[in-house]
């Protein structure tokens, strides 16, 4: 299994540009998450989804949008990029069952806004 795949791995954006970080998982997981990790800091939840067609805000949703049209894909959209969005972005997924506690992370996407 490929697990959780994120693209691109690295990207430089100019202020005001827009872009989409792609995330796909092949484990048929219902739950998917987007986190950002600033240098030397912990993970902050941006958005999450409990299934296709359902999304909800996390701790730091401003400046981002998500969609979940399929179980596999959970893209993160940055509109009007700002320097404050320079960060490493992690997509993650897990099964819906209460007994399944493992969260599978992607390898991260390094984004720099200049």
């Amino acid at each position: 299994n490929a697990g959780v795949t994120q693209t691109p791995k690295f990207r430089i954006l100019k202020i005001g540009q827009s872009m989409t970080l792609q995330c796909t998982q092949d484990m048929n997981h219902n739950y998917m998450y987007w986190y950002r990790q600033d240098p030397g800091m912990g993970l902050k939840l941006i958005y999450y989804s409990v299934g296709a067609g359902i999304t909800d805000k996390g701790e730091v949703p401003n400046g981002y949008n998500v969609s979940r049209s399929t179980t596999e894909d959970f893209p993160l959209r940055l509109e009007l990029a700002a320097p404050s969005q320079t960060s490493v972005y992690f997509c993650a997924s897990r099964r819906q069952t209460a007994l399944e506690n493992t969260i599978y992370f992607g390898e991260g996407s390094w984004l720099t806004v200049v």
Partner: protein
């Protein structure tokens, strides 16, 4: 809202010695899950150990064990016989059973001294 606190931004340990990383959390739920994740320089998030709140027995995984104090809302990680490969950021994380979000602490950077 749930919060996770790690009061030690940095820790160091001599190789082969034992180190304990602290984590406290705040929640009004009675049932939940707690995790420790390891993040090496590669930025991959690796699940180290997990604990279900309804279990009184502390979880153990080889050289890693936890001290779970539910009343005190404390969840510390003990690493025995520390190895150079244990050097990484360690994150404590919380997931409630009635919530879908996974909340991470700010992390503790662990250095292992040869």
């Amino acid at each position: 809202a749930q919060t996770v606190t790690q009061s030690q931004p940095e820790m160091s340990v001599q190789e082969a010695e034992t180190v304990t990383l602290s984590c406290t959390y705040d929640t009004s739920e009675s049932d939940y899950y707690l995790f420790w994740y390891k993040q090496p320089p590669s930025r991959q998030m690796i699940l180290v150990i997990r604990q279900e709140a309804y279990k009184q027995q502390n979880a153990t995984e080889n050289r890693f064990s936890v001290n779970f104090q539910k009343a005190a809302k404390s969840f510390s990680l003990k690493i025995s016989d520390s190895q150079l490969g244990d050097a990484a950021m360690y994150f404590c994380a919380y997931r409630g059973t009635s919530y879908d979000k996974v909340i991470f602490g700010p992390g503790t950077s662990l250095s292992v001294i040869p």
